[in-house]
Amino acid sequence: MSESLDNVTRVVDLGREELLGEHGYRGRPVILTEAFERPPREVLGETLDDVVGRLGDVRLPFRPEYGTLLMTCLQRGPLPDGAPDAVEATLAEYWEMVRQTPDTPVMCAEEATPSEVAELVGVPRAARGDADMRSTLFIGNAGNVAPIHFDGDCRHVLLHQLFGRKLVVMLPPEAASSLRSVVNFSTLWLREMDAEERRDLVRRLGGWECVLSPGETVLMPALIWHGVLYLDDGMSVNFRFGRHARHRFVSEHLHLDHRVQAFAAATVDPDTLAEAGAYADAWLRLVECWATPAPTPYAKYLELCACLDAIAPSPSSPAVDVSDDLFASLPQVVAEALLRAHIFKERLYLHRSARDLRPWSK
């Protein structure tokens, strides 16, 4: 049996309009086998040794993957004061460390792609010319995991595998009702599930699974739930693009949770926004709610939850029955604390004046 459900369509390449129109806006992942004008493997090769040979001197910060670190801290306590947030090392030094400690949780996750790497890799055709495009790197050893989450920047993501293989799990935003999420992370233990259990759950949740091989690029539509299992030592680079202005507002000014995700996912297609009627009214109500001063950030959070519940464009799918054993056990108070920490860290809902409304009310 295949390692994954393997239910993501593979095509050679698609133009930006078709890629977003047929896949991004519809929430359907797709794998591109030739997404670049000049495939990065022609410059970098497609093995660890090839890439280290070209990029071994590149310095990057390495740290435990964020979601894994979060889960560990929740169970064992916060990091001690003064504990280093990240260790800086060259790519060659990191892989030497992996050779000595193959099960290290330390990796490079979502660091801005250094210019010397970006120049060699290039940009996929579909993401070119997007001034709002961002690129980040993922470098990690076999066995590492990125827990299931959605990205708050509301961009579509082209994830290109440079070497090694990754198993990518993707679930539609509507699966939120079954994922017991806290902020933008599901508490589902992806790492602990056996392959059959995982495939069955992904199927029941209407999701997708694929093994991404070197040279392949998967489109993860904006706001989709996704998690990654590192099958091999690997390195990938992503290109985050295709966001419209109102989603920039969402990513910069609203908290992350399943309500915001559901609303934003239903308005990914800019043509939806151009339509007069329900969505336009809903956006205006949301922005007005956000811009009205509140006595505390939490009071504003509650107002926005009520607003989103009132304007939600579609109900989430009915919850799928998932065994409790598959979820991390988090006390309710911890989930509430994480929400507050997120609002605090992102400095949300501190505005005091309705003048903030103006740029977003059109």
Binding site: T296, P331, V333, V334, A337, A341, I343, R347, R352
Partner: protein, 141 residues
């Protein structure tokens, strides 16, 4: 006696600060905290963030925390007594707690030289959630 510690979680934003020398403001939790590592209850940034997000209180001065050994709710008096300078405010705090049916708690935090008043933020601000409830502000020596 638990010595107060200091940490800056002000957020750097213009907000009512409630600073007032000689007062201590107390919050308590009536939730079970089983499964929450002690490191958080000792005053981790997450707890201070909660005070800022729910109550608009920027913690930039001294504070003390205490919690029950089993992280379940227990008599409030036993939680208050070890707090710094509690002899000057514990009795008044217990009277207030009993009046409001808050005689048991799993966690307390006191902010020193802070005279928090939810009325200054407007009528919408409640006294919190079961996970963190504002008990009151009391003179402290």
């Amino acid at each position: 006696m638990t010595a107060p510690t200091e940490q800056d979680a002000s957020g750097g934003e213009p907000r009512p600060r409630f600073n007032r020398p000689g007062y201590v403001s107390l919050w308590l939790s009536r939730a079970s905290l089983v499964g929450v590592p002690d490191g958080y209850l000792d005053g981790a940034p997450e707890v201070l963030a909660w005070l800022f997000v729910d109550f608009g209180v920027a913690v930039d001065g001294a504070f003390s925390t205490n919690y029950t050994a089993d992280h379940e709710v227990g008599p409030l008096r036993a939680l208050l007594d070890p707090l710094h300078a509690s002899e000057s405010f514990a009795d008044a705090a217990i009277v207030e707690a009993e009046t409001r049916g808050l005689g048991e708690a799993s966690f307390v935090i006191g902010l020193y030289d802070v005279d928090f008043d939810p009325a200054r933020l407007g009528p919408e601000v409640s006294r919190g959630t079961p996970a963190l409830t504002f008990l009151g502000s009391f003179p402290q020596r």
